[in-house]
Structures are given as C-alpha cells and as structure tokens.
C-alpha cells in the first residue's frame, strides 16, 4: 500500500519557489533519506508532509489521507529542529500531555513504557529544564513515539545527538520499520541515515534531483548521491 505520495508540489514564499514540482511515491515500510544542501528545501518539504504548512500547489497524501486530517495526524510522529518539549513540565507531565493530545488509549501506561524505553524512568519527575542535552533529546524521542506512530517524519534527527541517543533512535526506527512503519528523515549525517534507508531523495534548490533505491554503493560511499546528482559547484 502506498504510504506516501506527493504530486507536483510547489511551495512559494511570496514569489520565491522553495519547492518546484516535487513528486514521489513510496510504499509502506520504506525508509526515505532526504538529502540536500542547506536551503535546498528539505525542511519546507518535511513541514508540508507533517501538516505544519500547506503546499501552494500540488497534493500530498500520507497513509492515503490528507496530512491535515486528524486521523492521519494521530499516526504521524515528528521530530523537528526544535525538540518540542516543555521546559517547565516534568518528563512525565510532558509525555502525559502529548499522550492525551494523541488520544492514546492508556496514557499512564504508555508514559511508563516510554520512560523506561528511553531510560528516563529515574528522572520522570524532574523538570525538563534541568535535564542534560542527551536527556532532553531522549525525551523528545519518547514524545515522538508515545502514540506508536506508523509514519515518522524526522528533520535532521541525528544532529547533535550523543552516542546513546543515536543508538536509541536507530533501534527504535529499525523496530518501527520492521512493524511496517514508514520513515522520512532529512539528514546531513549520511552514514547513520543511509544505514537505515531503503530509498534516497535528493533536493537541489527546490527541485528533485534524484529519487531512487538506496544501493550498496551509496552505503559504501555516502557522498555518492551528491557526487553524481548534486550541484555542479
């Protein structure tokens, strides 16, 4: 089943075209690595997929629905540039809030489970403000996964993660993919992402320069896509 479909996407900021005629299609269970230089339009594209932004033209379908539909949003987990946790609330309160927003069946149980999974159970009552950076990142991961999403949108998730958090995230993503979830992640950390990825997209100044399966060659030479399809300079 087609989990992700984009058709002729355009996004304008005023008259500036941040995305130009972007289109692709991926089946459920795919892990798509979205590559591109800074300013290529990766974040813009991910925000549209996440329903945070509306495309100026074109259509996006996620899990066969509009990303703005509540039923679709409740199955999407996102980690953006900002970690999306409240500094004044405790780890527990943060997760509980989001569990309730996502209408999780048994919020307390889900919170317990994910605090365990991200190794934050000891500090569940601590304010997020007091956490170390790694702990905050793990809390953000817990927040993204608390409603057991089957579609994940991650914007540079490995950036400035410590080893523990990277391992945790990779583990979680692998598990999710095993269970048939679909993942789209943008990254500059080519190695970590390409290990997980089944497909690769390359954006170049808003245009799709490459869309294809992730090959062994790419894994061996992470810069392969940029070398062959990137900008000349």
């Amino acid at each position: 089943m087609t989990a992700l479909q984009a058709h002729d996407l355009w996004k304008y900021y005023g008259d500036f075209a941040a995305l130009q005629k972007v289109g692709f299609e991926f089946a459920a269970g795919s892990c798509v690595a979205l590559l591109g230089r800074n300013g290529a339009g990766k974040t813009t594209l991910l925000r549209i997929l996440a329903g945070l932004s509306q495309a100026s033209e074109g259509e996006v379908r996620i899990l066969d629905g509009n990303p703005r539909q509540a039923s679709v949003r409740s199955r999407i987990g996102i980690i953006g540039h900002g970690i999306g946790i409240y500094d004044d609330l405790s780890a527990e309160e943060n997760l509980l809030t989001f569990a309730r927003l996502y209408a999780v069946a048994n919020p307390a149980k889900a919170v317990d489970h994910w605090l365990e999974r991200t190794d934050l159970a000891r500090v569940r009552r601590g304010k997020a403000r007091e956490f170390s950076r790694g702990m905050r990142q793990r809390l953000a991961i817990a927040r993204a996964f608390i409603h057991s999403p089957n579609f994940l949108i991650l914007d540079e998730p490995f950036t400035s993660l410590d080893d523990r958090a990277i391992a945790l995230l990779q583990g979680l993503l692998k598990d999710a993919l095993h269970q048939g979830a679909t993942v789209v992640l943008s990254t500059h950390q080519l190695k970590e992402a390409l290990e997980l990825a089944s497909h690769v997209l390359l954006l170049n100044r808003g245009k799709l320069a490459f869309s294809g399966v992730r090959t062994a060659e790419m894994l061996a030479n992470p810069g392969w896509v940029y070398q062959h399809y990137g900008e000349a300079a």
Binding site: Y13, G14, D15, F16, S56, R205
Partner: protein, 229 residues
C-alpha cells in the same frame, strides 16, 4: 488601457469635486442655525460612508482570500483599508473643525466621534500588523483574519457607543434629527458629494493596488537575485 481608465476616472472625480465645491460654496443657502460653517458637513459625512464601504470591501476580500488564496484579494484588502483609513481620518478632522467652530470644543466624547476614533484605531492596528509580518503569505493570511474581526468589532463598537453615549447626552446635535427637515438642495448635494468621494475612493484604491503590485514584483525580483547570488 486600465491605467487610462483610472486616470480618466480620477480626472472626472476631480472635476466632480470642483463642481460640488462651487455649488457648496456659492449656491447653497446658509443653514438656519449654524450659518456658513455647516458646509463642512459635506466633507464630513460622505467620507465616513465611503470609509465604511472600503472597510466592508476589505473584509469581504479578506474572506475571499482565505478561501481561494488568490493574491489579488489580499492586494485589494490592504489598498481598500488604507484608503478607508485616510477617509476616516478626514471624517475625524472635519468633525473636529466643525465642533470647534460650532461649539468651541475640539473634541467631545459623543457616540459617533468615539466610535469613529475607535474604528480608526482598529484599522491602524491592521496596518501595523501587516508591517510587522515579513513573509507575504503569513502577512496576507493573518491580516485577512484580522480584517474580518475588525469589521465585526466596528459594528459592535458603533452600536455599543450609541447606547452608551445617548444615556449621557452631550452638546453635539445628532445629525439625523436635522435630516428630516433638510433642504432638498442640501440633501441632493450630500448625495453628489458622496458620489464624488466614492469615485475618488475607487481611483485611490486602484492606484494603491498598482503600487502594491509593483512593490511585490520588486520584492520578488530581489529575492530571486539573492537566490542566484
């Protein structure tokens, strides 16, 4: 071609005003109680109606923008609001001059003046909001929402002030009581000047829209230049 029509309409409006001024100043008789100064009334009431028409147009255009995301509605909304704001200012200032002449006071907190001032402030807020948002789409979207709120608020304000201030009658005579006994020539002139102001508003809105479109074109060229460089 469009520009020619605008210029033509502008000239016609100017001539219309000249003709009206001639009649107002030279042909109409003095008002029974107020003497000569009442003539400012012809430049006090028509701008108000025209301003309200502009604000209503802006609110409708805003609604249409939110529905269709078509830029031209946003351009119209900002142009109409600016012109309306200028006309509302004329309304306030002529009211103050008239009040000063007639009753010796620059301002009084009667129903109409108060709600006119509040309306003016509400739409000033609209322009300030636009100034503060840089991204064109967000600016258009947010100011469209504000414009819709503003129009409802203006209606409320007018009604509420009417109830409030009429309980404490001030020195300003309500204009309506005068209308039933108004000289037919004066009434006709009122409508004439209203026509002139409406025409003027149309011309100004059209000119302002041209200006806005040019500004956007320049902005987009700038962005393109930055992107290439």
């Amino acid at each position: 071609m469009r520009d020619k029509i605008i210029y033509g309409a502008g000239i016609f409006a100017a001539l219309y005003f000249v003709r009206n001024l001639y009649v107002i100043l030279l042909q109409l008789p003095d008002e029974a109680m107020q003497g000569a100064v009442y003539r400012i009334f012809f430049f006090h009431l028509p701008p108000y109606f025209t301003a309200v028409a502009c604000f209503l147009g802006a609110a409708i255009a805003s609604g249409l923008y939110l529905k269709t995301k078509n830029w031209k509605y946003d351009v119209f909304a900002v142009s109409a609001t600016e012109v309306g704001l200028a006309l509302a200012a004329i309304n306030l200032v002529t009211g103050m001059i008239w009040g000063r002449q007639q009753w010796g006071i620059w301002w009084t907190w009667d129903a109409r003046l108060t709600s006119a001032l509040i309306t003016w402030l509400i739409y000033l807020g609209y322009l300030m909001l636009r100034e503060g948002i840089k991204d064109p789409s967000e600016r258009a979207k947010n100011s469209a929402v504000l414009s819709i709120f503003a129009f409802f608020a203006v209606y409320f304000t007018y009604k509420a002030n009417e109830w409030y201030r009429t309980q404490h009658p001030g020195p300003v005579l309500t204009i309506r009581t005068g209308k039933n006994t108004i000289d037919p020539a004066m009434q006709a002139m009122l409508f004439h000047n209203l026509g002139a102001f409406l025409l003027l508003a149309v011309v100004l809105v059209a000119v302002r829209m041209n200006l806005e479109n040019s500004q956007r074109a320049v902005e987009s060229l700038r962005r393109r230049a930055h992107a290439i460089a």
